[in-house]
């Protein structure tokens, strides 16, 4: 039944001692395909733009310099991991790189005055700023992937992370600026950002730590509440707290997308950790209850739902963006109009003002058609699949939950905004990961990719030992010939690891 699997070397020398480059041929090959694809896309866009502007017909990339910088950054990220000798996942970076590149092409194609910034006297357009943030995101992903050699800084301080997240949320309530009816943006000096993007990463870190600590209890114990079995009451509270946080975000921040994202990821992780359908049923019931309450009580929620149910009731007013998005998809057909040839201007302006943040999929749906949209959704599927595979091969519960949660955050977010653009679910203002314009979004998703890469590293050391109640750990093996373990004299109780650690 049980067989010793033979000695397994545990204490591998950490790679910090010396660099041993490890080739990553698959990643390089996939990046090659990405580069060729983006060159073709850019050339197609360039030809169309020149034809529209009445310039001489040349079939060449529209902004060769920008594309070159972007591809060089991807190559640099690849080389950094090769040099560091990381044996991390080789599919994630190309998949994310392709999505980012498509986003860059889209931003090059949109009117450049959607976003204005000037640095050192040089005015930067939409695609310039987008490229800068893409580089920052790639840099963050590479830095995390190469530098993170231990996950102790994530798992040990989960309550610190949670406190930081709540502080970030409160800061949004207090310092937040209202943009398009949602309280999302904080501005501190010249910097402004959307904390909810960073918050989703922190949420996953906290949930992974919390659920891995209490998984045995959550998975096995239950209290009977009439005919249904519910989790033990003390462990039910986080679920209610989570529900309350999501509800508060809806009420105060008016950010339906983030609330939906947080709650969905929470339920998914709870199910992954415990394997109990009852939790999901209970959570979905709570979610539906909250949604009904919000619909009854709050005008902004009701407005969104009413637009979703019938955007043509007020096609020039409330339903305008959704109607234009549907028209864009319809104009695109199967193969699209080609990059640069779609998105007719109305009075010299784009019909959808937030096309670069909330409706990039509608723009891509028009210019790349059904085929392009399906390929983009396929890339998100690939990212989710990689995350779940990394989770399945993780050494312990924390890493498994963290990898699954990070992948699901990206996948669910893409689903929410894609579904909103396609009128499958009510539209909520959230970014399309890796494609939408937006610094916070790109940076947060870059960190997500970096963490996934770090978690997939097969050369990394074993997880750190679980934390034990203060002073009770036996230093076995460190003092040879020590006596038998001196157990705590306190009455023995089922070990709930670290339940009393604080």
């Amino acid at each position: 039944m049980t067989a010793p699997a033979g000695p397994v070397p545990l204490a591998r020398p950490t790679a910090r001692a010396r660099l041993r480059p490890a080739p990553r041929p698959r990643e390089l090959a996939l990046l090659g395909i990405v580069a060729v694809a983006l060159l073709a896309g850019s050339a197609s866009l360039g030809a169309t733009e020149r034809a529209l502007a009445g310039q001489p017909a040349v079939l060449a990339p529209v902004h060769p310099f920008q594309l070159g910088i972007y591809l060089a950054a991807l190559l640099a990220a690849h080389l950094a991991q090769v040099v560091a000798g990381r044996r991390t996942d080789q599919v994630l970076l190309p998949a994310v790189g392709l999505l980012g590149g498509i986003g860059l092409l889209l931003m090059e194609r949109l009117p450049q005055d959607l976003v204005g910034a000037s640095i050192a006297g040089r005015s930067l357009g939409l695609s310039d700023v987008h490229l800068v943030w893409l580089l920052v995101a790639i840099g963050a992903a590479t830095a995390v992937a190469v530098a993170a050699r231990s996950d102790a800084w994530l798992r040990r301080y989960k309550y610190t992370w949670a406190a930081f997240g709540i502080a970030l949320l409160l800061a949004t309530f207090v310092l937040g600026r209202e943009v398009d009816g949602a309280l999302l943006t904080i501005s501190v000096g010249p910097l402004s950002g959307q904390p909810s993007e960073l918050l989703k990463v922190i949420l996953v870190i906290f949930l992974a730590g919390y659920l891995s600590e209490f998984r045995p209890i959550l998975a096995t114990e239950s209290t009977r509440l009439g005919p249904i079995r519910v989790p033990p009451v003390p462990y039910l509270l986080p679920m209610l707290a989570m529900w309350a946080v999501a509800f508060l975000i809806v009420v105060f921040q008016r950010d339906l997308g983030a609330a939906f994202l947080f709650f969905a990821v929470f339920l998914a992780l709870l199910y992954i950790a415990t394997g109990r359908a009852a939790y999901v049923v209970l959570g979905v019931a709570l979610g539906i209850l909250g949604a009904l309450l919000a619909y009854r009580l709050f005008g902004h929620v009701r407005a969104r739902v009413d637009i979703w149910l019938d955007p043509f009731a007020d096609p020039l007013g409330a339903g305008y963006q959704v109607v234009q998005s549907l028209y864009a998809f319809a104009r695109g057909g199967v193969f699209g109009t080609g990059l640069g040839a779609g998105l007719p201007l109305v009075d010299g302006r784009l019909p959808v003002p937030a096309i670069h943040t909330d409706f990039p999929l509608a723009a891509l749906g028009e210019e790349l058609g059904l085929a392009g949209v399906l390929a983009i959704l396929g890339c998100y599927l690939v990212i989710v699949e990689r995350g779940l595979r990394i989770a399945a091969s993780a050494a312990d519960d924390f890493r498994a939950l963290l990898a699954a949660g990070l992948a699901l955050v990206v996948g669910v977010q893409a689903f929410i905004i894609a579904g909103g653009n396609l009128r499958i679910i009510p539209l909520t203002g959230i970014t399309l990961p890796f494609i939408s314009y937006g610094g916070s979004s790109l940076l947060a998703n870059g960190i997500v990719v970096g963490l996934l890469l770090a978690l997939s590293d097969r050369g990394v050391g074993p997880p750190p030992a679980p934390r034990t109640p203060g002073g009770l750990r036996f230093r076995l093996g460190s003092r040879r010939g020590s006596a038998a373990p001196v157990g705590p004299a306190t009455p023995a109780r089922p070990a709930t690891p670290a339940a009393s650690a604080r």
Partner: protein, 145 residues
Amino acid sequence: MDGYALAVWIVRLAFLALLYVFLAAVTRILLRDLRGAAVGRASSLGRLVVVASDVAEPTAGQAFALGAVAPIGRDVNNAIVVDDSFASAEHAVLTFRGRTWYVEDLASTNGTFVNGLRVAGLAAIGFGDEVQVGRVRFRLERPPA
């Protein structure tokens, strides 16, 4: 249709086609990866790795693939033999019951410890937790995927 327009049209569709070339290449890698995982997957439910040991058997670094029931003790009939005078003959048993692993102390003299706390009877444990029997410390790990 002149040659230039044709070229533009071809490049436009080539971009879409290349997206699918990329997805096909990725899918090939993913399928190979999944097939490899399916072949390599042992029929075990977990691994018990010796973190530290003051005795001759087992030695630190040794790993045991676990079935659904894995008795631990000094007696040679145990699945995991701990050759330690501080371990009882039938010391503890690890069982996997549907959702999670449990460790049960079989009324051993010196006790079984999970993360430093003595177990009374049955206790649920998770992957990553440490179990101590006698002078040997084990860590429960997920089965290699």
